[in-house]
Amino acid sequence: MSRTSTVETANEAWGAAPDWVLALAQTCDELESQHQTAKRVGISATAVNQILKDKYPGNLGNVEKKVRAALMTDKVSCPVLGEIGSSQCLENQGKPFSAASSLKVQLWKACQQCEQNLNRKE
């Protein structure tokens, strides 16, 4: 079944949609649901639909903040530390083995076999 992608719809409606609207549209495409996307961002499904069509009557600045915080932060999910910034993840990957604490040893072991590790040995 071919649907027009939400990104295309948004671009048509906005002319050239700003990055945060595109991120919202992309998420709608990925999840195949505006409703699920709305839940993830913490706004109503109606609001998502109106933003994509550039017909949102409310304060765009507020929803922009919410979209950026929910969908555009550079976060990775670390099996040991939970949600961390990707820069912290990269920094940890580059660190040699350390016996300073059991946490550090756990982290090192996890890094060795983690898909997010850029220099993982296959």
Binding site: V80, G82, S101, S102
Partner: protein
């Protein structure tokens, strides 16, 4: 189990986080020093790693074999500094690095340093006094009484916090964390918490035992009758005769 949202609600994690926040807000004329103590298996370390992760603290677990020199080398390596040759110089490096980075310092298993005697403890005190960063020392139940021998150290402590035994609600949270696929009935967790006598680590062993038993019996929900025939954790095996 990752160190994010889930452990945040455990009693001792909350206590530790509160201690960290209190120290971070210490006025300049006081030393931001805290001591977190409690019996073995109370979950002190998980509380500390949680806070360390959240505040970007330098977290060290002192080994039984460590000397002060080893402590300094380990701390500097963690901070990404090449350690100098002597303890004197390393202490200077530590003070400088910690003061500039303003990272809190958490020293777990501090009993080992306390046991080395007054000189070693005073080296830590020097770092703390000069760098003026929040420092939390973690140790077993008797750490406060061993630190109270040295007034110079003792009167710097801003706050002594005792780790608490695990409550029933802690036990239920642990079950959600370590056996998320299972629904364990409340009476089971209450029974386990009572038997564990507040020791978090025993509850963790218990949850794992229940998980194994449930997968053997093919259960997704565990009631009290399902665990009637299992011991949650093994105590010391009896001596064997032949």
């Amino acid at each position: 189990m990752a160190l994010d949202a889930q452990p945040a609600l455990l009693t001792n994690v909350t206590l530790f986080t509160e201690l960290m926040n209190r120290l971070l807000n210490t006025p300049d004329h006081l030393t931001p020093l805290g001591v977190f103590y409690g019996f073995s298996g109370f979950g002190k370390t998980i509380s500390a790693t949680f806070a360390a992760n959240r505040h970007g603290a330098l977290y060290l677990e002192v080994g039984a074999s460590w000397t002060v020199k080893k402590f300094c080398q380990m701390a500097l390596k963690e901070l990404g500094v090449v350690p100098a040759k002597t303890v004197t110089d390393m202490v200077e490096q530590l003070i400088e690095t910690l003061a500039i980075e303003t990272r809190p310092l958490i020293i777990d298993e501090f009993d080992h340093i306390a046991r080395m005697g007054e000189k070693s403890v005073n080296i830590i005190r020097e770092i703390l006094d000069k760098a003026q960063i929040p420092v939390i020392l973690i140790g077993e139940e008797y750490l406060p009484s061993s630190l109270k021998r040295w007034e110079r150290f003792d009167n710097r402590v801003r706050s002594w916090v005792a780790a608490q035994p695990a409550s029933v609600s802690d036990a239920k949270r642990l079950a959600k964390m370590y056996a998320p696929e299972l629904t364990i009935a409340d009476p089971v967790m209450e029974d386990m918490a009572t038997q564990a006598n507040g020791i978090v680590r025993r509850i963790c062993h218990g949850i794992e035992t229940v998980r194994e038993a449930a997968s053997l019996k093919g259960l997704s929900e565990v009631e009290l009758k399902d665990v009637a025939d299992i011991t949650y954790w093994q105590t010391r095996p009896a001596a064997r005769k032949h």
